[in-house]
Amino acid sequence: MSDLTLGELDRDGALQEAVEQVSGETRAAFLGKAVVGGAALLGALAVPAAGEAAAASDVAILNYALTLEYLQSSFYTEAERLGAIRGELKRVPRQLGAVERAHVTALKQALGRAAVKRPAFNFRGVTEDNTKFLKTAVAFEDLGAAAYKAQAARIKSPALLAAAISIHSVEARHAAWMRFLAGVTPAAAAFDEGKPISEVRGIVASTHFVVARPKRKARKNPKYSG
């Protein structure tokens, strides 16, 4: 896989702007750092090559979708919990969060024990600031719609394809709504392009939102006062 940069992928720059605001990096510095190689950190964002067993391929695609739904649902859920998003955006975390959680529930039920676990996320303040929240929402919804679209042709099961399409159109509606709120043309092109998995993985990794889970347990002898 060739290296990718966010600048090549995030055409509207919505995600890149969000990351710039979050990280404080300049555009040039950010694009330089956002190079993603073949060994990306998101193991769940991997799909078997074409030609492998249909069932295994579809399970991998489902897990790929589930990982993106984890990202979206965690983002909106945290924003709703914190209650820092105000004004005309106040209802967005509640409404979109409820839908993204429904997607997570459905995908987890379909995958059963094969479902990947929810990663840990550090949203770096974008859930606590109206401007950063909206830019990130635009980027996430655009990304979700593009990711589903790119996988549609690879799905072997017609029943699974029907399900994926039913989620994809909802992601596209969310994207249009968030774009409208952000003052961006909801549908700028006559035809949407999908984003292949390598691009999606690169974009997600460049946000640094996916992090190691904080260690909260240990096997060390206590030194409490007793």
Partner: protein, 271 residues
């Protein structure tokens, strides 16, 4: 009119109606016939499309957040940071927060509120694991990492010698406890659970120990800083009682149950 006359009139009306119906049918048939054009398929053979597949997933209705009753939020400390008395880098220095605890777990803090400074930077007010007990301070959001949520709360009653675990503000567990002797009192105030230790080799602490943000104000030179733990015991016959150096002791079966019910980050009220 005679009965014969009435019968003849009815027959006449019936004949006229029948004639009209028949001619209408002929006209309609002619109209249909005249509109028919040669086509690739017959009217009684519509194109056959395969049935749409049933979606593999049944997407449920939107899932609202669970109750917000008794919800508290914590954050991990991502990098060592200076804590300030207000939401400004120029405000009075309070203490220094490390990214890890002495036990090697992530250092976590309880989130209390947030504010922006003049430059638009986000700051978070947090409860601190330092003396004096009950200290709070402000840290930049960028120094914090993952946010977590709990819906549990532990209430320690020093008079009644009980610990009660609440979930969504409702009690789900109440157990007898041992607390500090008069010379080593268990501190009162608002604290939180910082970490959980298991599988260590120290029967004195029982099978499981929680670390809290509370600290003994007497045993300040205790190894590790005199943090107050909530742990099991190898002397259950002393419970309930005022028997410890400040820690909260539970019978081993009770601490194991608490370990299953109480996540790290849970607020602790000692009163």
């Amino acid at each position: 009119m005679t009965e014969i006359g009435k019968t003849r009139e009815k027959r006449l009306v019936g004949a006229v109606a029948l004639g009209l119906a028949a001619s209408t049918a002929v006209v309609i048939a002619l109209l249909i016939s005249s509109r028919s054009t040669p086509s690739s398929y017959a009217v009684d053979e519509p194109p056959v499309l395969p049935a749409s597949p049933e979606p593999a997933l049944k997407v449920p209705s939107p899932v609202p957040l669970k109750s917000s009753a008794g919800v508290a939020q914590w954050a991990s400390v991502r990098r060592a940071v200076s804590v300030r008395a207000s939401a400004s880098s120029k405000a009075r220095f309070v203490t220094r927060l490390a990214s890890a605890t002495p036990e090697g777990t992530a250092n976590i803090v309880l989130i209390l509120r947030r504010a922006k400074d003049r430059a638009g930077r986000l700051w978070v007010r947090v409860r601190l694991p330092v003396l004096p007990n009950g200290s709070t301070g402000w840290v930049p959001r960028q120094a914090l990492g993952v946010y977590g949520v709990v819906n549990t709360h532990l209430v320690v009653d020093l008079e009644g010698l009980t610990a009660t675990l609440l979930r969504e503000e409702r009690p789900i567990l109440r157990v007898p406890i041992g607390v500090g002797r008069p010379e080593w009192p268990t501190p009162k105030g608002e604290f939180y659970v910082r970490n959980m230790l298991t599988r260590y080799r120290s029967p004195f602490y029982g099978p499981l120990a929680f670390g809290t943000s509370a600290r003994s104000s007497v045993l300040t030179d205790w190894p590790g800083g005199g943090f107050i733990g909530i742990h099991g015991t190898d002397a259950p016959e002393l419970l309930p009682g005022r028997v410890s150096h400040g820690c909260i002791r539970l019978r081993n079966e009770d601490i194991l149950q608490l370990g299953r019910l109480m996540p790290v980050g849970t607020p602790v009220t000692i009163r």
